[in-house]
């Protein structure tokens, strides 16, 4: 057995952090909440895929198909903004069956002289699609029969006034999901930190801990340990989300999506640093889990406010409210990434918001650290912040 050695601050902080991580990984609540978030995300993805495919694909059954007919159907589909899938069917009976089974949205009986379209109930969309294709084909055939082969029809040039409208909409959606994710994880991990602090106070184990380390080492270990878990979780979620979205081809511009995901993760780090410290300090003022809600309620309200402003900023990224709040430390992690994703934000604006946030974190850690140290060994009831600040140890 080796002789005990002196421990550096780093070693102590790492020990505390490792304990936090292993305790959380065995905590059912943590596992459940992580799984729930992932399931919701996968559900969202699946929903997008389902909705997307429903909109973009039209299955049309054809009896007696020809290459020309198929081509005409597809051309018509393009004009109507849908991918046409042609299903070859043997006879009318098969066509009826396919329509009734909703395997196809309509079935065209093309072999006869008078083509008929079978549908479940009259549906303008499929009728327009098939009708248009059949008419076009008939016109082309008759023109060919009349000897006109190279018909010079003028092509209409398209000039898009807002070519990015679609992509913008996606960016806003991604920004909103990002803000929701930030909000959820900040609250979740803020609560974990707060519960951890109160657990140590309530069980009085803190007195044993402080006999071997300084309060700031305990606080740093706790915040870092849970922070590593939080970061792992948000990276995992962002990875699954971005990967899934790209794999299922939900987004048009993958680069934008990745950029937004990266900025959400970066803002999580900053937001977590601030909120975890504040939650820890607030929690150190009470001695029982039952009293915890009263001190962290104001904080969750601030976070909820930030989230609401963030949602608002998605639709109006350049409005005054969004602009101002994207600089306010504490609100900026929930608003700035939305503005970044949904609008045009200058680099200097991001820089200022980050610097303000860092200053706030430094202040909270300095002042909060004193409150935390002063309040840790005091038990019974709620301690006033001023008392904790001036507490003599």
């Amino acid at each position: 057995m080796s002789e005990p050695r002196t421990l550096s601050s780093t070693a102590l902080v790492r020990l505390v952090a490792a304990r936090e991580i292993s305790a959380r990984l065995r905590d059912k609540n943590f596992i459940i909440s992580s799984v729930v978030i992932l399931v919701i995300l996968l559900g969202l993805l699946g929903f997008q895929v389902a909705v997307g495919s429903g909109e973009n694909e039209t299955r049309v059954g054809v009896v007696g198909s020809s290459a020309q007919l198929e081509q005409a159907l597809q051309a018509q589909g393009e004009a109507l903004d849908t991918d046409v899938v042609v299903v070859d069917l043997d006879d009318e009976a098969a066509a009826r069956e396919a329509v009734e089974a909703e395997d196809v949205e309509g079935a065209l009986l093309a072999g006869e002289s008078d083509p008929r379209l079978l549908v479940q109930s009259s549906d303008g969309f499929v009728e327009a699609l098939v009708g248009g294709a059949v008419t076009q084909l008939a016109v082309a055939e008759q023109l060919t029969a009349a000897g006109i082969t190279d018909l010079a029809a003028p092509e209409v040039a398209v000039e898009a006034l807002d070519p990015d409208a679609d992509a913008d909409e996606q960016k806003i959606l991604v920004a909103l999901i990002g803000a929701a994710l930030l909000y959820t994880l900040l609250i979740l991990f803020g609560q974990f930190v707060a519960q951890g602090v109160v657990e140590e106070k309530a069980s009085r184990v803190v007195e044993l801990l402080l006999a071997t380390m300084k309060p700031w080492q305990l606080l740093a270990g706790k915040i870092l340990g849970l922070g590593v878990l939080g970061l792992a979780q948000i990276v995992l979620i962002a990875g699954v989300g971005v990967g899934g979205a790209i794999a299922f081809d939900i987004v048009d511009v993958p680069g934008d999506l990745i950029g937004t995901a990266v900025s959400v993760i970066a803002w999580f780090v900053l937001g977590y640093a601030l909120y975890a410290s504040i939650f820890a300090v607030a929690a150190s003022l009470v001695s029982r889990q039952e009293d915890l809600n009263t001190v962290i309620m104001p904080l969750t309200l601030v976070l909820a406010g930030g989230f609401i402003v963030g949602v608002q900023a998605a639709s109006d990224p350049d409005g005054t409210l969004a602009r101002v709040t994207s600089f306010v430390p504490g609100l900026s992690p929930l608003v700035m990434p939305v503005r970044q994703a949904a609008g045009n934000v200058a680099i200097w604006e991001i820089g200022v918001a980050v610097v303000l946030m860092l200053i706030a974190v430094a202040l909270v850690v300095r002042l909060g650290g004193r409150i935390y140290a002063g309040a840790l060994l005091r038990t019974g009831g709620k301690i006033k912040m001023r008392e904790a600040l001036t507490a003599e140890r």
């Binding site: 057995m1 080796s2 005990p4 421990l7 009085r204 184990v205 007195e207 006999a211 300084k214 140890r393």
Partner: protein, 304 residues
């Protein structure tokens, strides 16, 4: 040597420690007595760096305690504290690591202590599932696991059943025999008297008496008189010059005589009440020493 030197501390207007000094030799056990609120816990917290003293310091081997020296102290706080949801062996190993043992040594040592304190079968149970007595053993294991050079234990015996008391006493004696200075506080004075090489009595933030139990006895010897007068009224001795009643129970009276007071005048007063079944100078027990030391403020305390 572990030295507590002139500790003073006040919380606001409340002076909790007023020059507390004593020393504990390596390999000896020091019992720390005092009524509730006398300052025992504060003294120990000062030693552990949990309370900063206004004046004075605690030294180990001639050097003031700092954080790394404190890591060599095994400590049991008055308010027991463990992580309720952490497993027994893991928890003990965690405290070993906080005291500077590396991972493997910590696990081995934790396993040994858990086994030794009879918790082998519960090693993988969460602490909150254990009985209070067993939790106390885990607490002790956490204090002993890093093979500390010094032990400071606040009320280690409180809440234990007689068998628990015996096994804890045995564990502490083992430590003392191995050369570790042990300081513990307790209200169970018979236990202190039985276990401790020296004793300190704290009252109102001051050490009112320190020394071996024998020294304290000698200091008090010849001053305490036990008189049993079954027929007497409770105030029978009040009129005797130079005698103070320390305790009185159904005529069984302990009297403290000031210098120059005449024991024969006490006997005369006793005989006036009727039968006298016992009259002898008393070897005071620690309880009596304690009562005498704590009861009345000394002259200088009154002056202060």
């Amino acid at each position: 040597m572990l030295e507590f030197d002139g500790l003073t501390k006040s919380f606001g207007a409340n002076q909790v420690l007023d020059g507390v000094s004593f020393a504990v030799q390596p390999g000896s056990m020091f019992g720390f007595c005092g009524s509730n609120g006398a300052g025992k816990t504060t003294t120990m917290r000062v030693a552990m760096g949990l309370v900063a003293p206004d004046g004075g310091e605690v030294r180990w081997q001639g050097r003031a305690l700092d954080q790394s020296a404190r890591r060599r102290i095994g400590y049991m706080p008055e308010e027991r504290g463990l992580y309720p949801k952490m497993k027994v062996a893991e928890q003990v190993a965690y405290f070993a690591r906080l005291h500077g043992m590396d991972g493997r040594a910590a696990t081995t040592s934790a396993g040994e202590w858990v086994e030794r304190l009879g918790l082998g079968e519960r090693r993988n149970d969460a602490v909150e599932k254990l009985s209070l007595g067993n939790q106390q053993r885990v607490q002790l294991a956490a204090a002993l696991v890093s093979r500390p050079e010094v032990l400071i234990l606040d009320e280690p015996f409180s809440g234990l059943d007689p068998i628990g008391v015996d096994s804890l006493a045995e564990a502490l004696l083992d430590q003392a025999r191995a050369g570790v200075p042990v300081v513990f506080s307790s209200h169970q004075l018979d236990l202190v008297e039985r276990l401790c090489d020296s004793v300190g009595i704290l009252a109102r933030g001051r050490m009112v008496a320190t020394g071996t139990v024998d020294e304290l006895r000698r200091r008090e010897a010849g001053r305490l008189l036990r008189v049993v007068v079954p027929d007497a009224g409770p105030q029978w001795a009040d009129a005797v010059p130079g005698a103070r009643v320390v305790s009185e129970q159904a005529g069984d009276t302990i009297l403290e005589l000031s210098d120059g007071a005449d024991d024969q005048s006490v006997l005369a007063a006793a005989l006036r009440t009727g039968r006298v079944t016992h009259f002898a100078w008393q070897q005071p027990t620690l309880v009596e020493l304690f009562r005498g030391a704590v009861a009345a403020p000394t002259a200088e305390e009154v002056a202060a």
